[in-house]
């Protein structure tokens, strides 16, 4: 029984065609699969493995190396708060506490409505806008502790416009 949509499989095939060796498409293929399934369940991993003619053990091993792949369900949006040096110097922990209080979850947890997962991140290469966060694929900064609701609202509006 197929787990990935035809569209996902077509996209994976397109990625494979870009490289002289199939395995190079693995990270991209995993993002396609994760984007559709929400997280990398064993059956999702198996389909990616089959699409790339790789052992499932290799696919799982590779995916688990990288922080942006999830093997457990995550919220519809993952909030990443940078806690590296420049953001630390500009008060990222106040921001982290702000999100934690606003969303009523600890770092690493997901809101009960499944909307947000809160995580920390390493340097996002936007240190001139410290403290920096990402919500999904969008980057925001500087963020303040009392501006967390504002940035989430801004993000929701942006998503709504898509």
């Amino acid at each position: 029984m197929a787990v990935l949509s035809e569209g996902a499989k077509t996209e994976i095939r397109r990625l494979v065609a870009q490289f002289p060796h199939r395995q190079s498409a693995l990270l991209g293929a995993l993002f396609v699969a994760q984007g559709e399934a929400g997280y990398l369940r064993p059956d999702v991993v198996a389909e990616v493995a089959e699409a790339l003619d790789l052992p499932p053990s290799e696919v799982t091993s590779v995916a688990s190396f990288y922080h942006l792949f999830h093997f457990e369900p995550v919220g519809r949006e993952v909030i990443q708060v940078c806690t590296n040096i420049s953001c630390l110097l500009r008060g990222c922990h106040r921001v982290l506490r702000g999100f934690s209080e606003y969303l009523q979850i600890d770092v690493g947890q997901t809101t009960t409505d499944g909307a947000y997962t809160l995580r920390t991140a390493e340097c996002l290469a936007a240190c001139d806008e410290a403290p920096v966060i990402m919500v999904g694929t969008e980057r925001y900064g500087p963020v303040t502790a009392d501006g967390v609701d504002d940035v989430l609202a801004r993000h929701a509006r942006k998503q709504g416009r898509r």
Binding site: H21, L68, Q80, L88, H93, C127, D128
Partner: protein, 422 residues
């Protein structure tokens, strides 16, 4: 100060558009390059004295010369756009603000080494940059800058953007190649796997930083002599306790003090305490070193681990607890360690545990010597530069700020501020 050119157009809202780029003189460098044999392009880059801007500072022309000349040998150009060194954001700035410059540099470099395919390994987190870059690449194809006949010549080139998935180690050149091949980003043994010899798919590969290739575009546009006369500018990412954090284009050799001034000076009402001149992998320098020039000679400074690195100047004022900063730095390397080699994998854990005790009031007298000992064990024994990047912050902070460590250990409290900062 010479007129900046790397950042000159980065803030123009239409600089990412092909027409606007060309109108401002873009792709002239490529035209010039295509009009000469490939090894003359390499010579020009060599003559310019350009050194890689990824952190290693290896002369770019010389790096390209390591690749075999035989056109029958498959070669690749790979762009390291995995900017991850803490405090560094110049590459992302260039990709978002001047993507066609990067493309131009890629085509010139690929032409110089006779590569048929170029791959850009871009941090996954750089979503906006990817959208902008892919759009610019599409425009480049549409206008014949990429494809079967680059600008109508006989040279063909295809460029593919591949992303990472959240691993700092993938910025290390051989780990990057592993990741680009779809595997865990574990660095490769050198020898034999020098990228110029056995790189991507085991073929000779030129692996260049984003900024470096932007320099290349300018060098071929205006000539090596013109470039040398500009004083070999460098982009410095300035962040932390400064009033105007940002990317600043300065000639190599500008002092730390001058760069901080350009960035608006230290936070209002605060004084300079310390800085990382080259990202978190460089040794911490105290105020005594404010007049040190920011150039490749930083590596000769009398502070172990001092280097220009990625030219990321992180400024810390007197509200900073140095112990906390180094602890955070150690944690970063611990979490980003690939796990392949013993000293990095285990040493960072142990260091993290000791720092944790010290920061939470459970430090012991023997801890300072212990930190030195653990750091010493990791010095010169690691498989790749990541592990080697850990001791500099420790040894330099112990040298300049030993009293902060001692205060934490003897009193269990911090006399600078609260943890975590802010």
């Amino acid at each position: 100060m010479p007129e900046p050119f790397l950042l000159k157009y980065v803030k123009e809202p239409d600089q990412a558009e092909y027409e606007a780029y060309v109108a401002r003189g873009g792709y002239e460098g490529l035209r010039n390059a295509l009009a000469m044999p490939p090894d003359q392009v390499t010579d020009a880059v060599d003559r310019s004295g350009l050194r890689g801007r990824g952190g290693a500072g290896f002369p770019t022309g010389r790096k390209w010369k390591f690749l075999p000349k035989d056109p029958a040998v498959t070669k690749y150009l790979v762009v390291n756009a995995d900017e991850g060194e803490p405090g560094t954001f110049k590459d992302r700035t260039l990709i978002e603000g001047d993507p066609h410059r990067l493309i131009e540099g890629i085509v010139i470099g690929s032409y110089a080494i006779a590569a048929r395919h170029a791959f850009i390994y871009l941090r996954r987190e750089f979503h906006t940059a990817r959208v902008i870059l892919e759009r610019a690449i599409a425009q480049a194809y549409a206008h014949g800058v990429l494809g079967e006949h680059v600008l109508g010549s006989g040279y063909a080139l295809d460029v593919v953007v591949a992303t990472g998935a959240g691993a700092y180690i993938a910025g290390e050149e051989t780990a990057l190649l592993e990741s680009l091949e779809g595997r865990r980003a574990m660095p490769r043994l050198k020898p034999p796997f020098y990228p110029a010899v056995k790189g991507l798919y085991m073929e000779p590969t030129a692996l260049n930083n984003v900024e470096t290739l932007c320099h290349v575009a300018w060098i071929l546009a205006r000539g090596a002599e013109w470039y040398k006369a500009q004083g070999s500018p460098i982009l410095i990412s300035v962040s932390g306790h400064v009033r105007a954090p940002g990317v600043y284009e300065v000639p190599l050799g500008t002092t730390i003090r001058s760069v901080i001034t350009l960035a608006g000076g230290v936070t209002e009402g605060r004084t300079f305490k310390a800085c990382f001149p080259g990202g978190s992998s460089s040794a911490i320098l105290s105020a005594a070193y404010l007049d040190t020039p920011m150039d490749y000679d930083l590596v000769k400074l009398d502070v172990y681990g001092s280097m220009l690195g990625s030219a990321a100047l992180i400024v810390m004022d007197d509200s900073t607890c140095m112990v906390e900063i180094v602890a955070r730095t150690v944690e970063f390397y611990r979490d980003e360690s690939c796990g392949k080699c013993t000293p990095c994998r285990e040493g960072t854990v142990w260091l993290g545990q000791v720092y944790d005790r010290i920061l939470h009031g459970r430090g012991e007298a023997a801890d300072i010597e212990l930190l030195r000992g653990i750091a010493r064990g990791m010095t010169g024994t690691c498989f790749c530069p990541l592990g080697e990047s850990v001791p500099p912050a420790i040894t330099s902070s112990l040298r300049f700020f030993a009293h902060e460590y001692e205060h934490h250990i003897t009193t269990g409290a911090c006399d600078v501020g609260v943890h975590p900062a802010g």
